[in-house]
């Protein structure tokens, strides 16, 4: 028993209480913070979801020369040491994710194919060098064999 009337047990309990108080305040702030942070109601629907971490992605249309898009055409993106294959959707559109920031987009070669067609031309749209966020458009044209 201490001379001030308290005892060691009470003091320990007091320290625990203060620790608990600090924890409670931190928890309370943590619980409130997300609600405050969302106060602006930011709508992300128009935002480009590619933050640039994977380097620029690729997209484009596969079309008949002078004609509409071709669905279910095979699109190949080749890079030294490998290739990624995808297919076009109903509009003739394809999308290919970025290959990483350390990959030069100019080293990625896009080609397209479909049974009964042969590749006529590949058109790479201008892209700002070093831009890791905006996707690169590469259109591919087929003609009937």
């Amino acid at each position: 028993m201490r001379q001030d009337g308290g005892d060691v047990g009470d003091e320990t309990l007091g320290n625990i209480g203060m620790t608990w108080l600090r924890s409670a305040v931190i928890l309370a702030i943590a619980l409130a913070a997300p609600l405050v942070a969302h106060a602006g109601g930011v709508d992300m629907t128009d935002e480009d979801l590619n933050g640039g971490a994977d380097g620029p992605s690729f997209f484009g249309f596969v079309r008949i020369v002078g004609g509409p898009g071709i669905d279910d055409a095979k699109v190949t993106a080749e890079l030294k040491g490998g290739a990624l294959v995808t297919a076009t959707d109903l509009l003739g559109l394809y999308k290919i994710p970025g290959f990483g920031q350390d990959v030069n987009p100019d080293d990625v070669q896009i080609s397209c194919a479909k049974d009964g067609y042969k590749q006529a031309n590949v058109m790479r749209h201008p892209h700002t060098a070093g831009d890791m966020k905006d996707p690169i458009e590469v259109d591919c044209f087929l003609q009937k064999q």
Partner: protein, 167 residues
Amino acid sequence: MITPRAFRGLVALLLAAPAAGSALAQSAPAQGAASAPATPYAMTLGDMMNTLIQPRHAKLGLAGKAQNWPLAQYAMIVIRQSFASIVKAQPKFRGLPVGELVTAALSQPMDAADAAIKAQNPQQFATAYAQLTAGCNACHVAADHPYVVIKTPDATAFPNQDFNPKH
């Protein structure tokens, strides 16, 4: 030492914190609006689709179903004008060229709808309208919004408009 009274206070603080945060969340824009200068609201592509395109797509379908060809022709004109305005206002959506998407998805079906209206052919119009609607949905898929599914209207959402032709 933590007293029972202090403990009750802590519990009250814990319980009140999320509510206070919520109240802040709701009041923050109002306070900001009062002190900050007004800024023009920039419509998102979704806003424009909901206000300019979707109602007109519905009106086109209702006019065609009623064989009100002048109204259907007018609906086609304003749909084309609306898309032209949207492409100017928002040339890209998530990096994709909006104009190219619209052309790829809707150019042929819109031409087919125009031809059906000119021919005043209800079957031809129904086919073209279905193609147009499919084009809308193909575009939504391409833009990573596959859950926005457009269909032929099965009822009018415009109780103050008569879609029947005037004879």
